[in-house]
Subunit: 164 residues, 2 copies
DNA sequence: TATTGTTATACTCTATAACTATA
DNA sequence: TATAGTTATAGAGTATAACAATA
């Protein structure tokens, strides 16, 4: 997209193009790395969100992750069926389901973290520590150009760290 | 994913995480930038592929883009209905539909390129020219770690430069 | 018998809106 | 009247496999 010498064919060198395809590949790779745990990146994001806010309501968590209320139902159902998450009645407001990680959920999350760390090391295997820092810094500046909150994430449907 | 001091909450600084979310945001942004042309990134990819190989068969193009034959039918139908692409009978093998860009298709592609260039400039607005080069170089090295052919792209279904 | 393009079918994922029980 | 969670329904997108014409 930068040097528009070509009529319209060869894979041009552009930041937008590269980030888009690389981001997709990274998400797909991470999805693959999580397969042994039988979870996907979206599940990882959910478990992480739960650690940050144990006891919050189903809809509050959903809002933070950008997941509509109706979709949260089945999403939480699946994790509860696996014994990773617990719905607890709020005694003050019986409409509310407060979400909590079970011990099994915390253990699985820990294992997912181990995988995430290993994957990060694999990705950056060719970079020195300062190079990695600089890459992060440059990416950060592109993020700001896009108006992205630095470091925000979600377990949205449309992929994002999920390769499906 | 790099510094695993946190139990599992704050948005950590990791190349994998950043690339995944940024890539998604870039794709979504590019999708938005193309809206005035009433095309999506996958259409842009198709038109580009056609320039590179005018006259190739429908399935050959599909294979290059990673699109199964059955999906190509409706995909090409839509573009033919808009007058952007033409199916021509191959006199030698009457099963084959050779695909060609129409004049309208070439004009639309040119306009899409203009948008892509503008989007690239917007993304890199905060970067100096050497910084941009270095970013591309670092991304390239991460791509190689992932075993990605440098500069390969597709018009796959599962998003990739498409925000849906 | 294999291949190009097509169609039919079924499946996954998702959003929208209606519904319930509480407040 | 509003809200948390649920359910029902319908829509988009896709893959799989069967099919017709041609080789």
């Amino acid at each position: 997209m930068a040097e528009l010498d070509l009529p319209a064919s060869e894979p041009f060198r552009s930041v937008g193009f590269t980030l888009s395809s690389l981001g997709y590949a990274v998400a797909r790779g991470f999805t693959g790395a999580l397969v042994p745990l039988e979870i996907e990146p979206r599940d990882f994001a959910l478990l992480r969100a739960l650690v940050a806010s144990q006891g919050d309501s189903q809809q509050a968590i959903g809002e933070r992750l950008g997941i509509p209320a109706s979709r949260m139902v089945g999403f939480i159902d699946a994790h509860e069926a696996r014994g990773l998450i617990e719905r607890r009645q709020d005694p003050a407001d019986r409409r509310v389901h407060a979400l909590h990680l079970t011990d099994a959920g915390q253990e699985l999350l820990a294992r997912a973290f181990t995988i995430a760390v290993a994957y990060e090391q694999e990705l950056c295997g060719d970079l020195s520590s300062p190079e990695r820092e600089q890459l992060l810094e440059l990416l950060q500046r592109v993020s700001l150009q896009l108006g992205l909150a630095p470091g925000l994430h979600a377990a949205q449907g449309s992929d994002e760290m999920a390769g499906e």
